[in-house]
Amino acid sequence: MATIPNEELLKRIDEKFGEQVTLVGEPYGLLTVETSREQIIDLLTFLKTDGALRFIFLTDITGIHYPEQEKQIGIVYHLHSLTTNTRIRIKVFLVDGDVHIPTATVLWEGANWMERETYDFFGVIFDGHPDLRRILNVDDMTAFPMRKEFPLEDPNRVDKKDYFFGR
């Protein structure tokens, strides 16, 4: 089957979810939509089970942190429809301090470690996750190191400052 054009895909989503899902853009042809945490599992389920779309493959789940935004923490899902060779990116933004989102392990078992990684680095709590523990960092770590406020190097060092290097 041929690749689903982005307009058609967006139309299908729009028919079902209307205002709940908003278009972010199509950077490099990859349709990117944003939704809320209340809708995310419904949207993922629809994309996975719809007969014409069949986004059966979860490529990746990851996080991103924008400290200046009101909703600081973003969760990014990449899905792939293997039968039509179409990809889609879904974003959910959460307010810091209430970083709860339902788990996608109910749809894909493979989401388990991806969500553990996102929890480990961004502190996102995936409600209903079977085993939400740190995965790459040590268990007794208190910070979430991929957040922007976490320094790359020991802040007590005086010989090396990030501003010398432009960031």
Partner: protein
């Protein structure tokens, strides 16, 4: 495989024993720890612990200009670093909208397929070692050395190659590189044939691998498996065929697919992929004949690091060198996802750029990380010795697992 096992202390009444397999055990080929509960030799449950060599590459990448991220990608899957390097360069090229000349694409295909062969040589060779056959490994290892010598001619290094530049290669392939490549293409098929005849119908090997750790296509897809593992389970997903990059659409090759996803199928799929890689390299060499032989990079002075002689003797080159190294050149404020078919599966780069000198966020979709999570659930009910072979055939590379 729904419920993931949770490690509990030994109940003194039970007959179960706890075994720490790893983190440094010679049979695990890397830093992998699995705490297994054993009933005799059978695994009742297991818990994987990973992260022993986590080096925070994603965090480091947020503080490095694009060129300094290439050496980080080397250290993901260090058995096939060139694929990672080029995957990263192609991601940046996609971000910047750079189109590379056909000759660059074909040279990249040659190096990437060599890397795939090198990776599969190690995986299949070691699978033989783990089933008790050392010979095949030694026969094949000679050719990994031959591949590393070709890398040396192309970029000067062997394992962590840091090969290429944004837009192409740092230098043209020399005649020695092509001579070594042609010698490899003559010698390697004989050994690969010999290797296959040593194993494919070897009764001991087949008994140890057939129907061991068989995975259905549904399970493989549910766990987001990619690469030879997914194809061995019967799903014909290959990024090279489905989303061609680096002009793979110009080539003719087959995507080998297995039937029942067991260790034996994975072995056969990897062997067949090596034959397909050889086919691709031969086609690429034939295509190179028709391309002008002095082109080895795209004409993008804003992003392609100029050669050192020119930096010292030419004002423009010095300016560009400075601007590239200091990150003075504006880049688009957008995001891009690009994936290549790594030796273990879909290696993806999710790059969010804010126009600065380094990525705002860079995430690696690492196939080893995602493939490995089924290991503990699928080990349940398996014999310990089968679990060892299963781990070899998953070909999990610790560097890529932990990033």
């Amino acid at each position: 495989m729904q419920n993931h096992p949770v490690y509990t202390d030994n109940d003194p009444q039970s007959e179960l024993s706890t075994l720490n397999l790893g983190p440094t055990h010679p049979a695990t080929h890397g830093v992998f720890q699995n705490v297994l509960q054993l009933d005799g030799e059978r695994i009742v449950s297991g818990v994987s612990t990973i992260g022993y060599i986590h080096r925070a590459f994603e965090k480091i990448a947020e503080h490095r200009p694009f060129y300094q991220i290439t050496p980080l990608t080397d250290r993901l899957n260090y058995c096939s670093s060139p694929i990672n390097n080029m995957g990263w360069h192609m991601t940046v090229e996609k971000l910047l909208g750079i189109t590379t000349p056909k000759r660059v694409d074909y040279l990249r295909v040659i190096v990437m397929e060599l890397a795939r062969i090198a990776d599969h040589i190690v995986c299949n060779g070691v699978l033989g070692v783990d089933t008790g056959a050392f010979t095949g490994f030694l026969y094949m290892m000679e050719f990994r050395e031959a591949i590393y010598e070709i890398y040396e001619e192309v970029c000067g290094s062997r394992l962590t190659t840091n090969i290429g530049r944004i837009g192409g290669f740092e230098r043209n392939f020399n005649t020695i590189a092509f001579a070594k490549l042609r010698k490899f293409l003559v010698d390697f098929p004989k050994t690969l044939k010999e290797f296959e005849s040593l194993f494919n119908r070897n009764r001991i090997f087949v008994d140890r691998t057939k129907d061991v750790a068989a995975v259905t296509a549904e399970d493989a897809l549910a766990y987001s498996w990619t690469g030879p593992l997914l194809r061995a389970a019967g799903v014909d997903y290959d990024v090279r065929a489905m989303n061609p990059y680096s002009s793979y659409e110009d080539f003719e090759f087959e995507v080998p697919v297995g039937t029942n996803g067991d260790v034996y199928s994975r072995f056969l799929v990897r062997n067949e992929e090596m034959w397909q890689s050889l086919r691709l390299i031969e086609q690429a060499l034939a295509k190179l004949e028709k391309e002008p032989s002095d082109i080895f990079h795209a004409d993008v002075p804003e992003f392609y690091l100029p050669p050192k002689e020119e930096v010292y003797n030419n004002m423009e080159a010095l300016i560009y060198h400075f601007k590239i190294v200091m990150g003075e050149i504006p880049t688009p404020n957008t995001e891009v996802y690009h994936s290549v078919e790594g030796a273990n599966g879909e290696l993806g780069f999710y790059l969010v750029n804010d126009g600065g000198r380094s990525p705002y966020r860079l995430h690696f979709r690492r196939p080893s990380f995602i493939n490995y999570q089924m290991y503990a659930p699928m080990s349940r009910g398996m014999l310990l010795s089968d679990a060892i072979i299963n781990m070899s055939s998953l070909n999990v590379i610790a560097g890529e697992l932990d990033a």
